[in-house]
């Protein structure tokens, strides 16, 4: 299933947040969205997820989601959004309960996603006992459990320290390599974008418009820490964004 954004624009009252965004999100690809603070990245992701409606333009699903898919558009939140009163297993099963999946079937799914996210040993732990990286792995496990057609990730790693971030990026790459999934991945961090993105969409400052779409051909599995090829792409992106970021920053101060 592909997603197409067709001339999406939005304003909160007189406050224009984004303008005329047209973009294809091909199946099995990770599309990273980068852009200066306040340019409407999170808002755009909410549109794609159907949690909010744009004032103009349309979000289209092209083709049907795979038949075993329980929740086609599934979020991974920056602040994890785990229910603190449920265990790791409980948090994952929350996503299944409303799909009338229980008993052995649910257990099989939960065991599978927990092992894929290396959480099997922590199945009975409460969120308060987990580190930040583990919490985000639980959130990813929960997202995987519903077999999404598209994962919508809003800065999923930005609440984590940089070592944990590196580890989780390796985990995500591992997950994708085994079973490729479609994802829209919003981030501030250009290093993340070049590590994980097949396509990198650069937005201008508010009102957000597409400045450029950069494609990185190197297969995910071959990209590594401090990869010189990626350094180049990252540098190129930074040149693109630098002025925008400075202007956005100045704008915030003026406001």
């Amino acid at each position: 299933m592909d997603i197409r954004l067709d001339g999406v624009g939005h304003a909160y009252g007189d406050f224009e947040v984004m303008r005329d965004i047209t973009l294809d999100i091909p199946s099995g690809r990770i599309v990273c969205i980068v852009g200066p603070s306040g340019c409407g990245k999170s808002t755009l992701l909410r549109f794609i997820g159907g949690l909010e409606r744009p004032t103009s333009g349309r979000i289209l699903q092209i083709g049907d989601p795979p038949p075993d898919c329980l929740n086609p558009l599934t979020y991974v939140f920056q602040d994890f959004a785990l229910l603190p009163w449920r265990t790791v297993t409980g948090n994952v099963s929350l996503a299944l309960e409303d799909h009338r999946i229980g008993g052995a079937e649910a257990k099989a799914i939960i065991d599978d996603v927990l092992s894929r996210t290396k959480l099997t040993d922590f199945a009975k732990a409460l969120p308060k006992q987990l580190s930040g990286g583990m919490k985000q792995r639980v959130a990813i496990a929960r997202a995987l459990a519903v077999r999404p057609a598209v994962m919508l990730m809003d800065e999923p790693l930005s609440a984590l320290d940089s070592q944990t971030r590196e580890l989780l990026m390796d985990d995500l790459i591992g997950l994708w390599t085994r079973t490729p999934f479609t994802a829209v991945y919003v981030t501030h961090n250009l290093a993340e974008a070049v590590r994980l993105g097949h396509l990198i969409v650069v937005l201008s400052r508010r009102p957000g418009q597409i400045r450029q779409i950069v494609e990185i051909d190197k297969p995910l599995a071959e990209r590594g820490y401090a990869d010189p090829d990626l350094e180049d792409s990252q540098k190129q992106l930074w040149m693109l964004m630098r002025e925008e970021a400075r202007a956005a920053d100045a704008e915030l101060i003026d406001a």
Binding site: N71, F77, A81, L83, P84, W85, L94, D98, L126
Partner: protein
Amino acid sequence: MPDATLAATPARDKVRAVDFRGGGFAPKTRRWVGIAVFIVLIGFVEWGTQAGWISALTLPKPSDVLATFGELYASGLLFQHLGPSLTRLVVGATIGASIGVTTGVLIGLFSYIRAGLVPLVAAIFPIPKIALLPLFVIWFGIDEGSKYALIAFGTFTPTVVATYGAVDNVDRTLIRMGQSFGLSWFSIVRKIVLPGAMPGILSGLRISLAIAIILLVAAEMLGAEYGIGAYILQAGSLYDLERLFAGVVILSILGVIVSAAIGAIERHLLGWRT
């Protein structure tokens, strides 16, 4: 360079530990202090009443209060009074708290109900419920009905306010998360809103139940032959300080038990809190 600076430090300067300035402002559990305060206070009153510089009209002897309590227990009257009171407390508070929690959740969830009921709740909150007792007697009868109603009404308002505050405070991102996983409205309320509001609801209940105990005495003003409140009122009108204090002590113990029970429920239900 830094080495040079260090070396330049005059060797004759005194060496001493840095002053510690970080103490205090960190409450610690000191359980025995509370008990000691009680013991000292009671001992002081006992001494004063025995010695005579606290007159019999001012305070009863704590030992006499204890004796009165003993008699009350031995005669079986204690349970004759406790039984009806506990029933009134349990029935009244259960009705008040459950309607209160339901109303509070509805206010928290529906804008129209909020707009309609919040001003109403604000209007009835400050009414001294005792003032309505005669009215309740006419509505619900002089027997148990009016007593349940008074206690229920008194616990209702603080529960409502605490509950909708708690629902308002439920982390919105968790609700968004529930929606993003396609959970039904009912599932979101049951699995996210209610557990998320539970800490606020329970701390509201702590206050509501204390109010219920206060209202017990008021409820037993009209037409109660037995009950701790009736016992206290009778002791007051007979100016029987020993019985008055024995009754008051029972209410205090009841308060401590309720508070401990809620503490236990909190530990059980809210173990997930950090």
